[in-house]
């Protein structure tokens, strides 16, 4: 019985460590005064004042929409592009296959935002010619993020494709399917866990991405949550804290929603390699 007491004590300690900062955010969001130095673990009162202030004084829903659109598009498209490439690497044998895989591994090790000066040059050129994809455009940043994510995802998905028996594809071919159909009807559905986990990871990484967004999405209509909320604290770190806390809680919703939506596919995909930051 003593063992159980120790276990519960340890579990409570870990849970407290995990939860306290979130309780603090929740309390700051509800606190009627809404400043950093007034925020405590237990709010002195509860009100929606911070939320109302956030919605009326900032274009919060525009940031929100931008973040969700950018993250969702990046997640879906990068997984799609990566799945195609992974299929070629997994099922075809062609000259340059090993070299291609190795160079993918090496190329994706370069942190994209270190090249922010060249990227800015590229995007200035794009802006001049195709403003739809240039600076302050959601689409341009989506393409940029996909380019940065596709290497990792291709590796991740290819590893999973390799574990799907080729005999299944061959059986489909004998039954008179084309290769495209074998890919679409057999390989893709079987790979659902890894597709879901890569999509989730890309979504989380993108919605949290700050640096590239802060350089490329500066227009009032183009800002994402990361850029907008950061600016909120940069202006008035103390006074805006309550609004910031409301924004933080609302930002958690899309992540949780995507996680819930993908959860049934994810169980096996979890160990495939992922970190958060």
């Amino acid at each position: 019985m003593r063992g159980m007491v120790v276990r519960h004590a340890a579990a409570i300690a870990v849970t407290a460590f995990a939860v306290l900062p979130i309780v603090f955010v929740l309390s700051a969001a509800l606190d009627p005064i809404g400043t950093l130095n007034s925020a405590t673990l237990v709010p002195r009162g509860a009100g929606l004042g911070n939320a109302v202030k956030l919605f009326t004084t900032t274009p919060f829903w525009t940031w929100y929409r931008n973040s969700v659109v950018v993250s969702a598009l990046t997640a879906v498209l990068s997984v799609a592009v990566a799945a195609l490439a992974a299929y070629a690497f997994s099922r075809f044998r062609f000259a340059g296959r090993r070299a291609g895989l190795a160079s993918l591994l090496v190329i994706q090790a370069f942190p994209q935002f270190l090249a922010i000066v060249p990227l800015y040059v590229i995007f200035s050129t794009i802006s001049d010619n195709w403003p739809e994809f240039g600076l302050n455009s959601v689409w341009g940043v989506v393409l940029l993020y996909i380019g940065g994510q596709v290497g990792v995802n291709t590796w991740l998905i290819k590893g999973f494709f390799d574990s799907i028996p080729r005999e299944l594809d061959d059986a489909m071919l004998i039954d008179g399917c084309s290769h495209t159909q074998a890919f679409r009807r057999v390989v893709l559905p079987l790979a659902a866990p890894v597709l879901a986990i890569s999509g989730l990871l890309v979504f989380i990484a993108t919605i949290n991405e700050f640096l590239i967004a802060s350089v490329f999405l500066t227009g009032d209509d183009a800002r994402t949550l990361a850029v907008g909320l950061f600016g909120l604290l940069a202006d008035q770190r103390n006074a805006n804290f309550g609004m910031f806390a409301v924004g933080t809680l609302l930002t958690a919703i899309p992540t949780v929603a995507v996680f819930q939506f993908l959860q049934r596919y994810i169980v096996h995909g979890l160990t495939a390699g992922a970190v958060k930051g």
Partner: protein, 530 residues
């Protein structure tokens, strides 16, 4: 020739078409749909190509048009070919990678071989023009104009009225030109002129910086704005002389130093405005041999390594420990504990990093208030390092917990029972059976977590911004990772040094690439063991 060539080529073409017919042995729903798909793909490719080429053609950027044509030809070849080409699947990823990953890396490498940075951005011609234009000073009795700010085709124009002679001029970056038929308003300013859009005072004020730096070149000087309604003609006090390749103001002479890209006076001082030149390997060797830089580089590298190892070790230890604590058949409330422990993973990391930063605040931070202490957490090197580690452990351990929980459930109970029958103690069972199996499951995650945290820009930048900084050296802080250090070199308040920053980012890149290759080999080795 053509006559004999025709019939001979026909049977040859028939060979692939018979192979094509061979595909029809598996007719399926494929063939018509495939043809339709191919037609649609062709239309899409051509459409995108035309859309992409149009602005390039009108801007006469023929290199761009060439690239679009090349990519289009490649896409048409790949997707119209009836053969089963791997390129059909690889092309989208390849194009995106080349445009947004490979090209930027190569570009960064080329920048590393130059001195590009503040004061060294453009060509020598641009530097000379900037030096001369910024040296324009007003002289007594020089011409004065009434200024109206206007624009044409989106670029700024100065509409200048000479009230004494009632004449109007349009001043652009190319020079001054008289215009006729302009209408004048009160005070003698131009109010309208054909072909130009006059900006309202508010619009002009919004482009104030552009207006104040705008210079209309005239003989021996330039016309510059003074406020938004007046302009004057001034003389350049600095002039460039091609003969001696130098800039002179009459008393001092700055000679061009083509190796370092700047104008230097005999006493060793240089003009602020320089130009971009190649410096060979200087930046790359400076990162290793220049004592001012390489001591930083080494110190930051060591801390960077410690940080990544510590984060991986601590998150894994805490995650596994929490999973083990909850992994017991008689444990109650497991679901609630699990849900709460995983919560940090659902919160947006960028925002929580800022929340942690403010919780560490000395004056009204939650940590000090709860502990009843008055510690300047982010102000001293040791506490700041502890703080960034603590924050990252908080963000990272729930995922480790999740994976460890899953892995624990897959360890067959028979193994543990067998060990128990053989007389193993609880600790021995954990060390010999559970832990190795857990590590096997966690190995890929540990490697990718290391690679991620080695470059964890947000985790440091949003909490401490690399600080605290020693008072005598604002370039390197106690918590700086290589990546935040490089970022500050490139964009910091010290003045941008893109060339040096690019050189250092190449080193960062090499380090990470080596780590990920080693990590990849290790995890593959792990897999073969299992």
């Amino acid at each position: 020739m053509t006559v004999t060539h025709g019939p001979r080529s026909r049977p040859r073409r028939a060979v692939p078409s018979r192979e094509g017919a061979g595909r029809d042995r598996f007719p399926g729903p494929g063939s018509t749909a495939a043809t339709l798909g191919r037609v649609l793909a062709l239309g899409l490719i051509i459409g995108v190509a035309l859309w992409a080429a149009a602005p390039l053609v009108s801007a006469r950027q023929w290199i761009g048009v060439g690239i679009v044509a090349g990519v289009t030809a490649l896409a048409v070849y790949v997707y119209m070919s009836p053969r089963r080409l791997p390129a059909k699947y690889l092309l989208p990823a390849t194009l995106l990678l080349v445009a947004f990953q490979v090209f930027p890396v190569l570009y960064t490498m080329s920048l590393a071989l130059t001195n590009i940075g503040d004061g060294h951005l453009g060509t020598k011609q641009e530097a000379i023009a900037a030096i001369e234009a910024s040296s324009v000073r007003r002289e007594p009795g020089s011409a004065e104009y009434r200024l109206t700010v206007a624009e044409t085709d989106g670029s700024l124009v100065f509409l200048l009225a000479d009230p004494a002679r009632r004449r109007a001029y349009a001043g652009t970056e190319d020079g001054l030109r008289e215009i006729r038929g302009a209408s004048f308003g009160a005070g003698g300013r131009v109010t309208a002129a054909e072909g130009y859009t006059v900006l309202t005072p508010a619009q002009a004020a919004a482009r104030g910086e552009e207006v104040s730096s705008f210079a209309v070149p005239v003989d021996g000087g330039a016309i510059r704005a003074q406020g938004l309604t007046r302009a004057y003609e001034g003389r350049a006090t600095l002039g460039y002389d091609v003969g001696c390749d130098c800039v002179s103001d009459g008393t001092t002479t700055w000679r061009a130093d083509d190796e370092r890209g700047r104008f230097t006076a005999p006493d060793g001082t240089s003009l602020a405005q320089g130009w971009k030149v190649g410096v060979g390997w200087a930046n790359l060797t400076a990162a290793l041999t220049n004592p001012k830089i390489n001591t930083h580089f080494l110190g930051v590298f060591v801390w960077n390594l410690c940080y990544a190892i510590a984060v991986v070790g601590l998150t894994a230890a805490l995650g596994v420990a929490a999973a083990l604590v909850l992994h017991h058949p008689r444990m109650r409330g497991v679901r609630i504990y699990r849900t709460l422990v995983v919560l940090p993973y659902a919160m947006p990391a960028f925002a929580m990093l800022l929340v942690w930063r403010d919780m560490f605040n000395t004056d009204f931070g939650l940590v000090n208030r709860m502990l009843g202490v008055d510690v300047d957490w982010l102000g001293t090197p040791l506490t700041a390092r502890v703080s960034v580690l603590l924050v990252q452990v908080w963000l990272g351990f729930p995922y480790m917990f999740l994976v460890a929980t899953g892995a624990l459930q897959t360890i067959p109970a028979e193994y543990l029972e067998a060990a128990q029958v053989d007389g193993a103690t609880a600790w021995q069972r954990f060390r010999v059976v559970t832990l190795p199996l857990l590590l096997l499951a966690l190995a890929p995650l540990l490697v990718s977590s290391f690679a991620f945290n080695f470059n964890n820009f947000n985790g440091v930048f949003l909490v401490t911004a690399g600080g605290p900084f020693p008072s005598d050296n604002p370039t390197v802080g106690a918590t700086d990772l290589l990546i935040t250090y490089t970022f500050r070199l490139a964009f910091g308040e010290q003045g941008a040094q893109y060339g040096l920053a690019s050189a250092i980012s190449i080193y960062v890149y090499l380090i990470v690439a080596v780590i990920s290759i080693i990590g990849f080999r290790r995890t593959r080795a792990f897999k073969e063991v299992s």
